[in-house]
């Protein structure tokens, strides 16, 4: 194995590893912490949590986000909930069970030690958020309520109506602004990281574009933390915010950070279907709806009857049929693929026949309208606003949509990338979810990374770094990086071609959705790579961006983000191509059982792919996954 890919797993039994790590980790005395500067890029749940906690510990923190305020970060949109192994429901849950569910949900393509730590730190995280004032759902007696999510058989999901992400993000945002008020954090909203500055092999700062003035600015630090979220906007149509992008991690990748498992992207089964070419995003309907909603399509092809006119016996509840023990709560990758299978076979419903029904009729009969309103009221309201349809009386139309990136920058147990001093937290890293993420584990991972893990690992690096002199932004490497950024912006503006940025983004999205989404095959991926390479050439010769560099220019922002997405798209296809097996969200058509289930090839592919950037090419390295405590089994939800 490449020595750079040492995951640094601590010794000892699973349940002692994190404790053992902390015992051996170097500490920094409080007086010295304030001499150390940390840059945090991104202000979502992981970024805000990290920035606030690092500041509480005494570090001098700078936090950057592209939005007008930290409160806009896309963590805000997570609806359903956050998992924690509290076992409040007395239903046999434990840290170990949660660890096992997560590892199995990810189809045994993540590290045991990381996954265990995620489950271990989940319980104190709920304590933390309650203390920060998150109004989680409560029983009449005042204790916390839980519900189920896909891929598990216990109730361990905590929630705040259908706005859990919003409430957690606002708690993190409040804590961050508390530290801004205390002058321990300097906040830079409307600021976009354009490149990473690496000096003597270590991350030492960033170059930022001020999105209001367009000016380039330099910031130096002793460590840089990326908390920049997922990259599913590479598909263009996704459940992500329009501004979500992969540029920060892509720039870091080009500066030497290895990119792990880029092709592991999750397609969420319950989003609203696409209705036109002009559509800019697909709205997610929380997976929690699958607790009470039943998914079906007509048994008859091209059935044009209204759903209420289709009798029970002519409905195919295909998830319940194929996966009787998990039914509608099968994990996301499985539920999405099953929907795609029915839609492709001609059973899709809706105007474009690209959807399936999610029906609450039985739940309303069983629990009453008021209970369903209480559980999902705001989701039904949102559905009505967007579609004009009342889902209490007619089933929702839902369809799979690109949603979450399990892949991201490769990080070790300390969440450090292969560039010393550069950390990646939250969705932008590859750590805990393997080849598929379980519902309600995303808010969890973002929070645990930012609040609990990074603040206890960054000291192990900074304790040595304090002995070195701090770099200045006058260093030649800053000068050089800024010039490169400037040149790249000028180049985009000088092309003055004939097609818009959105045109190229739509083209990229179509290729990626067709060849690198829910099912993949060798020929398709090879074609996709050559098509995207052509698209890259076309973009750099024919894109048209108006306006100037030194002003607020939203078109320019879209252009440089898309330029990175195009390159990332190529790497995602390369990664999907090299993995000749099916696992989790990665489904290679050549590798399936006769029932159409994923066929994993553990002997050859039980590794994390980690890609090194090499002058426009990508070199594959492998981190072997060692299963010391759990024996990987065939994942079955039947």
């Amino acid at each position: 194995m490449n020595p750079q890919l040492d995951p640094k797993i601590p010794e000892g039994p699973l349940e002692k590893k994190w404790q053992n790590y902390q015992l051996k980790s170097q500490l920094i005395n409080p007086a010295n912490k304030k001499k150390l500067n940390v840059i945090v890029v991104g202000s979502g749940l992981s970024g805000a949590g990290a920035a606030a906690t690092l500041a509480e510990l005494g570090y001098d923190v700078k936090c950057f986000c592209y939005q007008d305020s930290a409160r806009r970060a896309h963590s805000v949109a997570a609806q359903g909930g956050i998992n924690a192994a509290k076992n409040y429901q007395h239903d046999g849950d434990s840290v170990y069970r949660m660890f096992y569910d997560t590892l199995k949900g990810g189809d045994f393509r993540s590290r045991e030690a990381n996954t265990y730590r995620l489950a271990e730190l989940s319980a104190p995280l709920i304590d933390h958020f309650v203390q920060q004032g998150v109004p989680f759902a409560r029983e009449y007696g005042g204790t916390l309520v839980n519900r189920s999510f896909g891929g598990v058989q216990v109730q361990r999901t905590f929630y705040a109506r259908g706005q859990t992400g919003q409430q957690l993000l606002l708690a993190a945002y409040s804590q961050l602004y508390k530290m801004i008020r205390a002058k321990k954090v300097t906040m830079y909203p409307r600021s976009e990281m354009m490149d990473l500055v690496v000096i003597n092999g270590k991350a030492k700062g960033i170059v930022v574009r001020n999105l209001v003035t367009g000016k380039l600015e330099r910031y130096a630090a002793d460590a840089v933390v990326l908390a920049t979220g997922g990259y599913s906007r590479v598909f263009r149509l996704s459940t992500l915010a329009i501004g979500c992008n992969g540029s920060a991690i892509w720039k870091a990748h080009k500066k030497g950070a290895f990119f792990a498992a880029p092709s592991f992207t999750q397609i969420h089964p319950t989003a609203l279907p696409q209705s036109s070419e002009a559509q800019s995003k697909l709205t997610l309907m929380s997976e929690s709806l699958r607790n009470d909603g039943r998914i079906w399509v007509p048994k008859q092809k091209d059935d044009t009857r209204a759903p209420k006119d289709i009798p029970e016996e002519e409905r195919d509840y295909y998830l319940e049929r194929r996966y009787p023990s998990f039914g509608n709560l099968a994990p996301r990758d499985i539920a999405s693929r099953a929907a795609k299978e029915r839609i492709d076979a001609g059973y899709g419903v809706g105007r474009l026949k690209n959807a399936v029904y999610l029906d609450f009729k039985h739940a309303i009969e069983k629990f009453g309208l008021e209970t369903i309103k209480d559980r999902y009221g705001n989701l039904f309201k949102m559905y009505k606003k967007i579609t004009g349809i009342d889902a209490y009386t007619t089933p929702m139309l839902i369809s799979p949509a690109a949603h979450f990136s399990m892949g991201g920058l490769w990080v070790d147990y300390e969440l450090m990338t292969t560039i010393p001093g550069l950390y990646a937290v939250g969705e932008c890293n590859f750590s805990d979810h393997g080849a598929n993420r379980l519902g309600a584990n995303s808010l969890l991972q973002a929070s645990v990374d930012g609040y609990f893990i990074l603040p206890n690992t960054i000291n192990n690096y900074l304790a040595d770094e304090i002995k070195n002199e701090q770099v200045s932004t006058e260093h030649p490497e800053f000068e050089k990086t800024e010039h490169e950024v400037e040149a790249s912006i000028k180049r985009i503006l000088s092309i003055k071609g004939t097609k818009t940025v959105d045109h190229f983004h739509r083209e990229l999205g179509k290729i990626m959705w067709q060849e690198c989404a829910m099912s993949r095959n060798k020929t398709g991926l090879e074609n996709a790579i050559s098509q995207i390479k052509q698209l890259k050439e076309d973009f750099w010769t024919d894109v048209k961006v108006t306006g100037n560099q030194n002003e607020m220019n939203t078109e320019l922002e879209k252009a440089y983000r898309l330029a990175d997405f195009i390159e990332l798209g190529i790497l995602m296809c390369e990664d999907a191509l090299q993995r000749e097996e099916s696992c989790g969200a990665h489904f290679r058509e050549e590798y399936q059982t006769k029932d159409g289930e994923a066929l994993r090839v553990d002997d050859d592919y039980s590794y994390v792919s980690a890609w090194e950037y090499n002058n426009g090419d990508f070199k594959l390295h492998k981190e072997e996954l060692k299963f010391e405590f759990v024996k990987p089994t065939v994942r079955s939800y039947k």
């Binding site: 920060q132 706005q163 409040s174 967007i386 609990f452 961006v545 108006t546």
Partner: protein, 247 residues
């Protein structure tokens, strides 16, 4: 469908702005309002013109970043909805649609339809938090919170910080925004320790930012995408009065 957009264009905070008129054809009724603006922007690029600056991010009604005045109403013709959730089916074919930025002294214009809402962040900074550090929390079920109280806190906490309440208020008051946050935290047992300080500091900052006073017209709760009740303002005012009178 075809519509005429009459849109406020202003190059920078100091420039003199003006309305400009654009015709857009080939729209469909299931396009969102922002997707119609996206299409207009693509057409402007191809005509070698600068794009219109407007804000959005999540496009599902939760991030609070979008928000413009449409035909004289915050977030468009429907109550309790964000701009990104508005669809073209709400307009007539051939209609002229007037689009303006939020208008409030405390929200200065940055460019075109983009305003600076950092005043909201500074109100939050003044006290919208519970001063507990990461790692210091007691067990989550140690303090039971009755469902009715948790639900009421959640109703207030749902605010997305879009600023429609301010934009629609004739006094440009931020009372709904500020009171919702105060009531969310002050109603929970965890927030009680700093309740009076929070009320004092946040309302002080609200005044300092140049927002107007509330005169109970109720316009804010009509436009609030989360339907946050004006009762929050009454509760804040009553708590403030009690604090002033009885300490």
């Amino acid at each position: 469908m075809k519509v005429t957009f009459k849109i406020w264009r202003q190059d920078n905070p100091d420039a003199k702005g003006e309305f400009k008129t654009y015709e857009v054809d080939g729209l469909t009724d299931d396009m969102s309002f922002l997707e119609a603006l996206d299409q207009l922007n693509e057409e402007l690029v191809l005509k070698d013109e600068k794009v219109i600056a407007y804000e959005y991010d999540c496009r599902e009604g939760i991030c609070g970043q979008c928000g413009v005045f449409i035909n004289g109403r915050a977030h468009g013709p429907h109550p309790n909805m964000t701009t990104c959730q508005l669809h073209m089916r709400s307009f007539e074919d051939g209609e002229t649609i007037t689009v303006e930025p939020w208008r409030a002294k405390a929200f200065p214009i940055i460019k075109d339809l983009v305003v600076d809402r950092s005043a909201f962040d500074r109100i939050i900074e003044a006290g919208a938090y519970i001063s507990s550090k990461t790692g210091t929390a007691p067990e989550a079920n140690a303090i039971p919170i009755p469902k009715a109280i948790a639900d009421k806190a959640m109703d207030a906490a749902a605010c997305i910080g879009c600023g429609a309440c301010v934009a629609t208020c004739k006094n440009a008051s931020a009372a709904l925004f500020t009171s919702a946050k105060i009531n969310h935290l002050n109603s929970l047992p965890q927030g009680k320790a700093e309740a009076s300080e929070r009320l004092e500091q946040m309302t002080y900052q609200m005044d300092l930012e140049g927002f107007g006073n509330c005169t109970n017209t109720g316009a804010c709760e009509v436009e609030c995408p989360e339907g946050i009740s004006i009762k929050n303002i009454a509760e804040m005012n009553s708590a403030w009065m009690k604090q002033k009178l009885f300490g």
